[in-house]
C-alpha cells in the first residue's frame, strides 16, 4: 500500500501550497513545519476535505483526488480529537467499528477501558486523544492521517502518548502521515521526516539525515541547528577549510570551490569545551546562559568576533566545567560536525532568531 501525493498544488489568497510530491509506503512519515506552513492543508487534500487546485492523490494506485472523504479509506485524527460530544467514548469508538469485539480490543490497546462509558465531553485531553485514536483505528484505515494529535496536551501526557504512539503506528502496516510543528515529536514518531515551510517541501529524509545534514538554512534552524554562519572556502580538495571571520576552520565543504562564500551550521550539542591543542578551537567569553531543565545553553562570543556560538551542555558537564556567566572559555567546533548547506529554496523563509 503506497500513498502518493503527486504535484499537489493549492492556493488560498496569497498562500500557496506546493506543488508537492510525496510517496508514503507502509511507514510513518512525519511532516514538520511551523504553523501556517500548509501542512494541515496538505493533510486535508489527502483526506478529501480540501480539493487541490492541481495534482493527484492516489492510494495503492487508485486515484482518490475527486472522491468524497468517506470513499477514500483515509482516516483523519484531529488536533482536539473531534469526538462526538453527545456520545459516550464507547459509542465514538463503535461509530465506524466492524464489531463490538473490535471496540474492546482497541479499548485495551489504548487503555481507555475505564472511561468507555463516559460521555465524550467529560474526558480529559489525553483520554480524548486515546479515544480518537481508537475510533480512527476501528474504521480500519487504508491510510492514517494525524493532524497535530498531541499539540494541546500537557507535557508529561504528551511525552507518554508519544512513546506509545511510535510502536502503535508502526504496527499498522498502512501509510501514516503525522503532521506536527514539534521537532521532537516528528523525529520520535517518524521513519522519515518531511520539512515544510511556506507551502514548500524543503527536505524529505530520515530524521537523522535531516538533523545532521539540513538541506536549507531554514531546515537547519527549525530543527535546532541554531549556529548558522557564513564562511569563505580557503582550501578545497584534500585540505578543505573555511575562513570564518579570520579564523581557520577545518570542515568538509562539499562541492564548493576556493573563493566561494558558503553557509555552514553546527548543532549546539556538538560544540565542545576544549583545551588549547584541540582543532578548530578558540577563546571566547560567555555572554549569556540559560538553564533549560535538562541542560544548559551557553552563548560564547569568540575574541575579536561578534557572532555568538551557542553550545548545549548537560548539567554534569556544566558542573564539571565550573562555569559562570561572563567567564572566559575555550570552545571547539569539531570538523566532522560542521555541515555546509546551500542557500536552498525557491521562496524565502524567515529564519527563527537565535534567541528563540
Amino acid at each position: 500500500m503506497t500513498l502518493v501525493v503527486d504535484e499537489v498544488y493549492k492556493s488560498h489568497g496569497a498562500f500557496e501550497l506546493g506543488p508537492i510530491d510525496l510517496a508514503v509506503d507502509e511507514e510513518v512519515l512525519s511532516v514538520l513545519g511551523p504553523s501556517g506552513c500548509g501542512k494541515t492543508t496538505l493533510l486535508s487534500t489527502i483526506a478529501g476535505t480540501v480539493t487541490p487546485d492541481a495534482g493527484t492523490i492516489s492510494l495503492d494506485g487508485l486515484d482518490l483526488t475527486g472522491r468524497p472523504p468517506e470513499k477514500r479509506g483515509t482516516v483523519l485524527v484531529f488536533q482536539d480529537g473531534a469526538l462526538f460530544p453527545h456520545m459516550t467514548a464507547r459509542e465514538n469508538v463503535a461509530y465506524a467499528a466492524s464489531s463490538e469485539g473490535r471496540v474492546e480490543e482497541l479499548a485495551d490497546a489504548l487503555e481507555i477501558g475505564d472511561v468507555l462509558d463516559q460521555r465524550a465531553d467529560t474526558l480529559s485531553g489525553g483520554e480524548r486523544q486515546r479515544v480518537a485514536l481508537a475510533r480512527s483505528l476501528a474504521a480500519d484505515p487504508d491510510a492514517l492521517l494525524l493532524d497535530e494529535p498531541l499539540a494541546n496536551l500537557d507535557a508529561p501526557i504528551k511525552r507518554r502518548l508519544r512513546d506509545e504512539l511510535r510502536p502503535l503506528l508502526a504496527s499498522l502496516d498502512v501509510p501514516v502521515v503525522y503532521v506536527t510543528h514539534d521537532q521532537r515529536e516528528a523525529t520520535a514518531i517518524g521513519d522519515r521526516l518531511a520539512v515544510i515551510a511556506d507551502g514548500e517541501l524543503l527536505q524529505l529524509d530520515t530524521p537523522d539525515e535531516v538533523f545532521s545534514h539540513p538541506a536549507t538554512p531554514f531546515v537547519a534552524s527549525f530543527t535546532g541547528s541554531t549556529n548558522l554562519f557564513r564562511g569563505d572556502v580557503v582550501e578545497a580538495g584534500t585540505g578543505r577549510a573555511l575562513d570564518w571571520n579570520g579564523r581557520r576552520l577545518d570542515a568538509a565543504i562539499g562541492g564548493a570551490t576556493i573563493g566561494d562564500t558558503v553557509r555552514f551550521c553546527i548543532r549546539p550539542e556538538y560544540v565542545m569545551l576544549a583545551s588549547d591543542e584541540t582543532r578548530n578551537s578558540f577563546n571566547g567569553a560567555i555572554t549569556r546562559q540559560v538553564f533549560e531543565g535538562d541542560g544548559y545553553l551557553l552563548d560564547v562570543v569568540p575574541d575579536g568576533g561578534d557572532e555568538a556560538v551557542r553550545l548545549a551542555l548537560s548539567p554534569p558537564a556544566y558542573e564539571r566545567a565550573g562555569l559562570d556567566e561572563r567567564d572566559r572559555v575555550r570552545i571547539a567546533l569539531p570538523a566532522d560536525a560542521i555541515h555546509v548547506i546551500g542557500e536552498g529554496g525557491g521562496r524565502t523563509h524567515e529564519t527563527p532568531s537565535l534567541s528563540e
Binding site: G48, T49, P69, E70, K71, F78, A82, P85, H86, A96
Partner: protein, 271 residues
Amino acid sequence: MATRSDTARSRTTLFGFDWLTVALVLGGVLCLYYLAPLVSLFLSVPPGEILARMTDSTVVDAATTSLLSASISATVATVFGLPLAYWLARSESRWTNAVLGVVVLPLVLPPTVGGIVLLTVFGPGAPIGKAAASAGVPLTRSLAGVVLAQTFVASPFVVVTAKAAFEGVDRTLEHASRSLGKGRWTTARNVTLPLAMPGIAAGVTLTFARAMGEFGATMMLSYYPRTMPVQIWVSFIELGLDNAYPIAILLLLISVAALAVLNTVAANPWQ
C-alpha cells in the same frame, strides 16, 4: 488615584442613584406594562365563568381547529424547512444570502398582505385554487387554507432558528464522521441533527406558537373554519369584549406553555 475613582463613580450615578438601579426602574416600568394587562385579563372574568365557557361549542371548535392546523403547519414547515436550514448553514454558494432574504420575507411582510398574496395563487379565482376546488380540496374557507396561511407566516421561524443551530455544530465533527467512512446523510442523521436538536426544537416551538396566533393571513384566506384568533375577533365584533375573553385566556396559556418548552427541552434562542 483617589480622584480618578471618584470621577469614575460619579459617572455611574444619575441624580445620586446608581445607574444599575435606574436601569432596573426603567426596565421595571416596561415589564409592568407587559404583565399588568395579562393579570387584568384574568381578573376581569370570574374563573368559574371562564371554565363554564370553555366547554362552549364555538370555543371547543376554534381550539380544535387551531391546535390541529398549527400542528400540521409546524410539521410541514419542519419537513421542508430543516433541509433548507441545513443547506443555508452549510452551502458555500453565493446564493445563500438571496435565499435567506426570501425566507425572511414573510416575517417582515404584514400578514394581511401575505393573505392577499396567497389569494392570488390559491384563491377560488386563481388557476391553482380553481383546480384544487374542483378536485374537492378547496384551498380557501377550509383547514387546508388555514394551514397554507399559517405555514406562510410561521415557517421562517423554524428555518432561521434551525439554520443558527446547524451553524453552531462544529464542522470538524462532520469532517471526522465522513473521514470515518460515513456519507453526508449518515453524518447529518448521527452527528449534525442530534447536536442541533435543542435549536431545532426551539424553531419548531416558535413556528407552532406563531401559527397558533396567526390572524391576518388566515382571515383573508380562510375565515372558516374559525381558528382561535379569528373566533376572538368574531366574538368581540358580534358579542362584545367579554365574549372574547375565554379564548384569549386559552391562547395566553398556550403561549406560556410554549415559553416553558423553550426554557426546558429546547435551546432558548434569546439566551
